[in-house]
């Protein structure tokens, strides 16, 4: 499973000057498609929080963070701040996924589809793995059932490879299971 958004840990600080020999080091965890973008995002956020820019700062470390348990399902809660056509809003969304990167990717695609928000207008404030009891959204809570059981209605039969695809078929498809 390749994800578009990777999670990076970026560490940086302002350059040491005569007045400040050991400036404070700041660390951020953020999502970007690649390392270059992650570094740029880091400076964007740091500029808004401290009086430091990329020109008078230095990057100390950038590491990609990988999912510890990609084989277990978790409920992710994501707090975000996004810009709509009329102003900035905060939002809390929940997703069920195996990895945090997958949950974030779901969030970006859902914001784009439901609210027409492009990915550069979204800032992730906080993410957390939520235990099942504390989930707020019905759409995630409905899967918190150890005896879950549902039929697959409307089974569209697909060709196993795209090479065998044909535009015209002899008979109408059978969609039952």
């Amino acid at each position: 499973m390749s994800y578009k958004f990777h999670q990076f840990q970026v560490v940086g600080r302002g350059l040491p000057t005569e007045s400040d020999e050991h400036p404070k080091i700041y660390r951020m965890k953020l999502w970007a498609t690649n390392e270059v973008r992650a570094k740029s995002k880091f400076w964007y956020f740091l500029r808004k929080l401290k009086k430091v820019k990329k020109s008078n700062g230095q990057m100390l470390a950038i590491n990609e963070i990988f999912e510890k348990n990609p084989t277990t399902i978790k409920n992710y809660g994501i707090w975000l701040r996004y810009q709509s056509r009329t102003g900035y809003h905060n939002m809390y969304k929940e997703y069920r996924d195996t990895t945090l990167n997958g949950g974030i990717e779901q969030m970006y695609t859902e914001m784009a589809s439901r609210h027409r928000v492009r990915h550069h207008c979204i800032q992730v404030i906080k993410t957390a793995t939520i235990p099942a009891k504390l989930c707020k959204r019905e759409s995630t809570k409905q899967f918190h059932n150890s005896k879950i059981k549902f039929p697959l209605v409307f089974k569209k039969v697909r060709l196993p490879t795209r090479k065998l695809k044909t535009t015209y078929k002899a008979s109408r498809p059978n969609l039952f299971v």
Partner: protein, 134 residues
């Protein structure tokens, strides 16, 4: 016509698209409406979209997300492999695979066997015809 095959923990499904095409996997948990956590003997537990799965009639008795050892034990206890290979669907797939892996000599042998079989059938038919006309 109610539904008989449900997505549930322990349902055996056949992968019908993608890298693991043709494999039998167990649905070990449901992520959301479109995806399931799926596990098999020779693969790492991972997620799969329902569009890539075709449900079968076989279901094994496991709890949500068992570890690999318990899964293998449950698969052996339910004798999934034999049940699948003796079912008509499983048998058809085996025959298809065999046919696809024939070389020219095998196809020649099959041609001879078909001719022989047709000859025997035609003899019996001729005998029956003689009995009805006479």
């Amino acid at each position: 016509m109610p539904f008989k095959r449900y997505v549930e923990v322990g349902r055996i499904a056949l992968v019908n698209y993608g890298k693991d095409y043709g494999k039998l996997v167990v649905i070990v948990d449901v992520i959301d409406q479109n995806r399931a956590l799926v596990d098999a003997l020779d693969m790492v537990r991972g997620q799969m979209n329902f569009k890539r799965l075709t449900l079968t009639d076989i279901k094994i008795d496991i709890k949500r997300v068992p570890n690999k050892k318990t899964l293998i034990a449950a698969l052996d206890a339910a004798d999934v492999k034999n049940k699948w290979e003796s079912s008509s669907w499983g048998r058809k797939l085996i025959v298809q695979k065999k046919r696809a892996s024939l070389n020219d000599f095998d196809r020649f042998k099959i041609m001879l066997a078909k001719i022989k079989k047709a000859g025997v059938v035609r003899q019996e038919l001729a005998k029956l015809k003689k009995e009805t006309t006479c």
